[in-house]
Symmetry: C2
Subunit: 361 residues, 2 copies
Amino acid sequence: MSNQLHVVASDAPGRDTASLRTGGIGTLRGGRPTMKDVASRAGVALKTVSRVVNGEPGVTPETARRVLGAIEDLGFRRNESARLLRTGRTATLGFIADTWADPDLTGVYRGLEDVVRQHGYLLYSGSTDSDAEREQRLALAMCARRVDGLIIAPTPGSHDYLVAEIEAGVAAVFVLRPPELVRSDAVLPDERAGGRAAVAHLVAQGHRRIGLVGGPPADSPVGPSRFRALLSGYTEAMASAGIIADPGWTALSAADLPGAPVTAVVCAHPAQTRAALRALVRAGLTGPGSGRMAVIGFGDFEAADLITPPVTVVGYDPVLIGHTAGEVLIRRMAGEQGPPRRVEVPVRLIARGSAEFPPER
Amino acid sequence: MSNQLHVVASDAPGRDTASLRTGGIGTLRGGRPTMKDVASRAGVALKTVSRVVNGEPGVTPETARRVLGAIEDLGFRRNESARLLRTGRTATLGFIADTWADPDLTGVYRGLEDVVRQHGYLLYSGSTDSDAEREQRLALAMCARRVDGLIIAPTPGSHDYLVAEIEAGVAAVFVLRPPELVRSDAVLPDERAGGRAAVAHLVAQGHRRIGLVGGPPADSPVGPSRFRALLSGYTEAMASAGIIADPGWTALSAADLPGAPVTAVVCAHPAQTRAALRALVRAGLTGPGSGRMAVIGFGDFEAADLITPPVTVVGYDPVLIGHTAGEVLIRRMAGEQGPPRRVEVPVRLIARGSAEFPPER
DNA sequence: CTGAAAGCGCTTACAG
DNA sequence: CTGAAAGCGCTTACAG
């Protein structure tokens, strides 16, 4: 795509935005009017303005009217940042996403936002591109602004830079991936149950040589903790089906699949599920009777139902993760004591077609 | 999905988070240490601490060492919010998304964030679920915190509540959709060129009865402005191909498609593209020779290439939109004058298969 | 080189 | 009912 832009002059009527910047009705000293300005225009003391603005009792209707008039005339709006400084709170939380490419994060954001809004907070946010240094810089910048709490979808690596902030009273909750080297609450999907459910489903279709895609390679979008948890569920389910798994089966990458010695695979993340499907399509291994491979993805994704065959997944609700994280944070900020909590939200198998057939190879 | 959660007690070693809240090394009066605390511990004046913290010249190495020592001992970190209040800036921008369900917005966010980070800003963010009242509340709350600028993916409806804020000096840039009833900069895809390119592509395949999906219905994820722009491009391209379009062709909804009197359609938004595909799949109108319909989507989406046939789209780069919006905002905040600008980023047709065949009906 | 005072825009605590 | 003073945590402007 070319980087060239079309700049189209607007033909809408009206005044020039920039010229509106100066000379507005309430503009004093080139800035915004303050309570002091309102007070002097209304001929009252600062405190009286404060009373009116805060709806405190003990102001004559007549005085209140004068103050309100001055507020109107000047276009006064209270500076919330100043109020917050004086009050000693910030009513602000910080949200740090390791990547926006993972659609889970927008779900988490929405769930979190419900709680944030309900409690009158505002949210700082930022993303890190899975760069640990950027995460640290962002988190510390938010702490320097004195956020009351932090929600972090962490990038791999140590989060010990948070220890001092947590000691200083900042609440922190990790989402989707657990913290490393710092004791903190975390909310994530029940990955172990997911691994178990996926394998059990495949076993029920007759599969025995079952693989797991999404291991250690550094460029994997899956943290090591997700893989370990899935593997643990996988191992449980294989054992209870009486199957002895070959270690090679759980060290597969998407590109390996066409020649892999398994008849079915579980993919640890939507990006890997899509990569696996691309590799299988390219190898002509998707139609019935083609020697195709059964595929289950961990994590649902947009349009999974439109692919042929529609993709069976182990889904979970990212919105619930965000919502839960928000509530855990609120409780901590309210002073709840106790050791770090790890909350796991339920998963559910959604059968769509890509894993509902017996072994073909 | 059940709403029941698993709460798993952590078995990790270490101290209890909550108990860390109190009695930390630098904890004075139960809060965080201030410059005043540092000053008295170092036996210097407040101003000297300020000098050291800001790296200002004119401090004896010995004095500096004492101050640094006190900072270390107390775990002091400057309160950035207080500094900003005194300085009269906030170094904060606000980003308001109408919905996170539209993946364009995460792209816009990332592009914007590049600029934000480079200029040392922090970002407030929030989403509105396309609720005009929530948008207004959020925007005004951010203005009350005195953000320097606002980036808004607007919900339909008037944005005149911004007029007073813009007069007061807040810079505002709209993204993806244009503002209504307020004069402000905007950055969006070149929708008209998109409509033109899509229709020309279909004409080149031999299609003449070409439809447009995504019109006025209130539940459409497409704003009226997008539809108008696409329609304008459509009209141009049809005219230059010498085709007289039937008005009914441009008033289609996804559900109508199976029986619609057209051989090809352009869908105004990925959600509509997917809806159209679902309707066509359900009607058995996807395989070659089935009387299938050619489909082009406006806006690319994840997994579009995995659908059968892979979906041809008119794509654009949402990251570029965010980046451009950030730069326009920065320039305005730096005092750039001039009428509101409307910047359109280029679009590009990505042929994948769903629109590369002649009429079949 | 160092510091005491005033102030950013508001609220708190107290006095009239 | 109303207001003058002090202070949130920092910086600015000025004096020694």
